[in-house]
């Protein structure tokens, strides 16, 4: 935790210094942003308030970005309330918020109407499969085993399937406690989408909530799941990398499409992103991506913005914040254990923001 705070502060300082120093050179990394010193002073002129809500998955990164942005635009007050992707989309559709965070796509009849909003990819991160088993430090799991554990077909740690994935590891025969999200969650949505795609043994479908077997535990938000995993021995659950690391949990290496067991890390997440296909509206699916180094459970996350803002100042604020987030804000991602976007995706995202 201290390391995170320290490295985040250092990165924020580096970002500021970079902004200041880059004033005299042209930045060929940002074709659309123009002169960076112009960008810095452009932010400084902005003032006003922005309200946002949505996914808890990228919350740690968004809060860091908000604080970083407050240092270059001190008159702007942004509040991001991590209520979950579902409520975030609803509130955005009702006009209660200026932008929303979501890990899952907008469905028909839910949230904002089609054509009135845009997806802006912001960061990506691995969803770890964290566990708490006494005496076990490293675990490897294949998609089928994972599906069977989470649907409670495998009930103890000493099961043959787990042993097969982990030759040579001494597994106790204690009961498995499965932990999932009790609230509607984009993390659940992406995790179950992965299981759907990667394993034929998964029959519970996918979505913000699914019908988990009754003898499983629910935790509220990623942090609630992390807390449960830390307290209950013999437990397994899915948590974003940022919270898992900050809580000190151990996570499993998952077998990806190419048959390699890959541990969740930022490099593996970036590898998954590079293989992913980007749709017209900028939604993309890095789950179960091809590539030997790719971590198969990498989750995208987006910010939803309106195509047209009635209040011109709000439009400027949103544009300013998102431009910051996609440029210097990306440097903060690593400090919070999120993977920055690859160049191509970032350029497309910036172009999307310019459409407001």
């Amino acid at each position: 935790m201290n390391r995170n705070v320290l490295s985040r502060r250092v990165l924020a300082g580096v970002a500021l210094a970079a902004l200041a120093l880059a004033g005299c050179g042209n930045n060929d990394e940002e074709p659309g942003a123009g002169d960076s010193s112009g960008a810095a002073s452009e932010f400084a002129d902005l003032s006003g308030e922005l309200k946002a809500s949505g996914a808890s998955f990228p919350d740690a990164y968004y809060q860091a970005a908000i604080e970083g942005f407050a240092e270059v635009a001190p008159d702007v007050n942004i509040t991001y309330n991590a209520v979950g992707s579902g409520t975030g989309k609803e509130e955005f559709g009702q006009g209660l918020t200026d932008f929303a965070g979501s890990d899952s796509l907008v469905k028909e009849g839910q949230g904002p109407k089609a054509g009135e909003f845009l997806y802006v990819p912001t960061v990506a991160a691995p969803i770890t499969v964290s566990f708490n088993v006494q005496g076990v430090d490293k675990l490897q799991l294949s998609p089928d085993t994972l599906a069977n554990i989470f649907s409670r077909k495998i009930k103890t740690w000493g099961d043959a399937a787990i042993k097969a994935d982990n030759p040579g590891v001494n597994l106790p025969s204690t009961n498995i406690t499965v932990v999932h999200r009790s609230d509607g969650s984009g993390t659940t949505s992406n995790f179950t989408k992965y299981l759907d795609a990667a394993s034929d043994a998964w029959t519970l479908g996918s979505g913000d909530t699914v019908n988990w077997p009754s003898d499983t535990q629910g935790g509220e938000k990623n942090t609630g799941v992390a807390q449960l995993l830390k307290q209950a021995s013999g437990s397994i659950g899915y948590v974003d990398l940022s919270d898992a690391k900050a809580t000190g949990l151990k996570f499993a290496a998952i077998k990806n499409k190419d048959g390699q067991f890959v541990e969740p890390s930022l490099e593996a997440a970036t590898a998954a992103l590079e293989g992913a296909e980007i749709a017209e509206d900028l939604s993309y699916n890095p789950l179960n991506a091809a590539g030997a180094q790719a971590y198969p459970i990498t989750s995208p996350t987006y910010l939803l913005i309106k195509t047209k803002y009635d209040d011109a100042n709000k439009a400027k604020l949103v544009k300013g914040f998102l431009t910051y987030l996609l440029n210097d804000g990306q440097k903060l991602a690593e400090g919070e254990d999120f993977a920055a976007l690859p160049q191509a995706l970032k350029d497309k995202a910036l172009a999307q923001v310019a459409k407001i």
């Binding site: 509040t79 807390q227 830390k230 919270d243």
Partner: protein, 298 residues
Amino acid sequence: MSVVSPGAGAPNLSSGAISGRRRFSNHLATAFIALSVILAVIPLALVCYYVLAKGASVVSWEFLSSDVPRSPRREGGGIWPAIVGTLLITGAAALMAIPLGVLGAVYLNEYGKNRPLARVIRTMADVMTGVPSIVMGLFIYVAWVTQVGSQSGFAGALALGCLMLPIVIRTTEEILRLVPDDLRQASAALGARRWRTTVTVVLPAAVSGITSGAMLAVARAAGETAPLLATIGLVYTANYSLMEGNTALPMLIFRNAAQPFDPAQQRAWGAALALVVIVVAFTIIARVISSRFAIKDY
């Protein structure tokens, strides 16, 4: 006069006459009762110990005056916005509920007495004290937040006010009942109208009891979380306006209780200490007022 000693057929009144079984069950019952009292004290002692021990280690002037950190895993930060929110929202709720409750109790005791309407209201006020606090929160969410369109401290105050109202009514009615009738009759004999009597004679005589009842209701409302869940939203910096979203001490504790990060848990303990201090202070002052300034029988 000689003392008559009991004759041969008189009962043996010494304790040796009680059979062993009866004596044993008596001792057992006494032991169980004593054990129960201890069992009631232990959780209270444990809670107080943990709140004091863990809270005191984190509470400081800086803690009480800093803003809430946006990220739960951050060290430091504080609970000032939550303190502001609790004081504002509970204060507003008290301002709404106490006058209304006192007037309602005046109706029940002075005007309604045993009439059917008053009996119904009395029963329903009792029932209302038993309504779960989360239902109050849902009610205000449905009736106010959805109509107005946004969450606000005022909505939370409405929910807490609904919670306080029946408590104030019932405790005030009990106190008004204790005011001797002689006072009312004397006032009426002097020519005062009913309302004048009530306002200038009865209420002042009962003011200590009313105050203590009101403070108990405020203490109860300050500690409630569920009514605020749906109604007040979330902020990280102190908000002095009731018309926008706000946060409160119980909300902060609830949010941080399910976090895995030590700084968040420590903030929760610190906030719990602050909340317990506020609530216990109000409770003790209320009890002191009611016992020291009780209505004297004339």
